[in-house]
């Protein structure tokens, strides 16, 4: 999860990190980032097929992307589904986290574990189960279907981040609020929410991204009329071999990175205790 606190400089002086550990860390970073950096130069390539190193420089692939209604629609669909998923998953996940923070004992523990299942369950298993159920309910290919399915897998992320934020929340404040005239609902809005807003925001961003780049469920739920961006990307490689995917991928990377960095950018604005 996003931990906003970076280790202090002083710390490294007290206990210096050996060079080999730094080198290993560097390798890991390269391993994760390199494929991403690979795709961006590709997106400006002049070649008509996938080639590396890229040749020439052109905006053509981006032109393709932004003039092709199939790509644009899928992008719009993804934004729509991800936004609705973020709203729904954040609401449900926050409510669950607040409720579970007040409960102790085995039932609460059981519910907590159950809510985490979508993270550990193999995506394909979840997808098949959702597909079968949604076929019967005629939810495949509908916005509602995507949103419900994505919410199920996004809620755990909200739950984790909001539960973390609630760890630093003093429940005495709710008694104080009640003594000052706040109903439980008012106290939640005026006291709890502002104090756990970072956790809620982090959860919302995770939910958005989980939905935005989810492909397995989306593949099962797609219809000819409604596809999300990851599905369209998948099609473009497996069916059409369309180099526009380089531009699409680059756009995805940039979009997701910006969204991920949002909390850091907003950090100064939210006062912490």
């Amino acid at each position: 999860m996003t931990t906003p606190s970076t280790p202090r400089r002083r710390y490294t002086k007290v206990d210096p990190i050996p060079w080999w550990l730094k080198a290993f860390g560097g390798l890991v970073v390269v391993f994760f980032i390199l494929p991403t950096l690979f795709v961006i130069p590709m997106s400006f390539s002049d070649a008509t097929t996938f080639q590396f190193p890229p040749q020439g420089f052109t905006w053509r692939l981006y032109e393709n992307f932004f003039t092709n209604p199939i790509w644009l629609d899928s992008l719009g669909n993804s934004f729509l589904v991800a936004t609705l998923t973020a709203v729904l998953a954040t609401t449900v996940g926050t409510a669950a986290a607040v409720a579970l923070s007040r409960l102790q004992g085995r039932v609460a523990q059981l519910v907590r574990t159950l809510l985490m299942v979508p993270i550990v369950a193999p995506a394909i298993v979840v997808a098949v189960a959702v597909y079968i159920a949604f076929l019967g309910w005629q939810l495949t290919g509908t916005v509602l279907g995507y949103v419900l399915a994505h919410t199920a897998i996004a809620v755990p992320y909200v739950l984790i981040s909001v539960t973390g934020a609630l760890g630093g929340f003093d429940p005495k404040l709710l008694r104080a609020a009640a003594s000052l005239g706040s109903s439980p609902a008012r106290a939640f809005v005026r006291v709890t929410m502002p104090l756990i807003s970072r956790g809620i925001l982090t959860g919302a961003i995770f939910a958005f991204i989980v939905s935005f780049d989810e492909v397995v469920l989306a593949l099962f739920l797609r219809s000819p009329l409604f596809q999300t961006m990851p599905v369209q990307m998948y099609n473009s490689v497996t069916v059409e071999i369309d180099p526009t995917i380089s531009a699409a991928s680059s756009l995805m990377v940039v979009a997701v990175t910006i969204i991920f960095l949002l909390p850091q950018l907003l950090r100064g604005r939210v006062r912490r205790r």
């Binding site: 008694r175 104080a176 109903s183 008012r186 106290a187």
Partner: protein, 379 residues
Amino acid sequence: MTMTPDTTAKATGPSTGTPSGTEIRLDRVTKDYGLAAPAVDDISLTIEPGEFMTLLGPSGSGKTTTLNLIAGFETLTAGSIALNGTDVSDVPPHRRNLGMLFQNYALFPHLTVAQNVAYPLRERKVGKREIARKVAEVLELVQLTGRDDNHPSQLSGGQQQRVALARAIVFEPEALLLDEPLGALDRNLRSALQTEIRRIHREVGSTFVFVTHDQEEAMNLSDRIALFNNGRIEQVGTPQQLYAEPETLFTAKFLGDSNVFELGEAALDANVAWDGESWVIDPATVAAHPGVRASSAVVVRPEDVEVAGGRDDVPAGANAVRATVRDVEYMGSYRTLLLAMGERGLPGRTRVSPLQGEYAIGDDLVAWWRPQAQRIVAA
């Protein structure tokens, strides 16, 4: 021991401000968490309008639970609670209109001082200008003018508790409930804030219910004290009453130091025997405790006990017991002699002034007091 409660101020009750305090009546209140014994066990207590009532008692005796029942944070197992005659047993806390002060201040960390104090006013839909006026007024009352825009984390503990106090009284609640509000502060600050709280009680004139385990604090602040023990109220009365006229051994021991002589099965009469000594009981005490007490004790405060070199120096009519000095504590203006009294060497204490001469460990003395100074309590 500070044994000089300010009697004059209390006799007149809340002097300034509106005499519009609220009566709080607890009727056979019980709270059972399902533990071995109920946390609060069949308590009845009437707190008068405008009164400063302290719930005093050792840790775990049920004070906080009682306060939380009044506030509405806990539900009653049995009994009822009424504010000014209106039963509020089923009213949720946010509709009871009671201010509350917590030990850890419970200020909202995301709000400034002014916003914290304005909080209850905003909940009551008070107009902007009225809010500004009241916040300024109450911040002046707690002497925090000019700190409006600070966040709680920028204030000291004492200042934070002042903000909490301002926030708890700004909406003119029916009563103010305080749960060990000074417990986290150091000694000097405590005493300063005690004075402050008393002043504010006088100026605001509303009912205060104050929880503490510190008997000195209770003595200093209260109009009356309800002494808690094991979920029950041991005795209710003014600080002077509780100190001078304890009804039980627990009360005598909890408030101030006492010399305790358990009488066992001895008959309570004009005369009583203890450890071979024959003592006179004050006629008034005999009248107040008719017949035989199955289990009682004689209690004498250290300041009422005198020491003499021998039996001959003891005035006629005084009760006496032989005592050996175990230790001498120098307290500045006086000294405390720790004694071993009677055959069994029961621990006792007395105060002597340096004018009475020097005492050394091991000195054999006679401790004596007048019968009027002693109390008979249930043991």
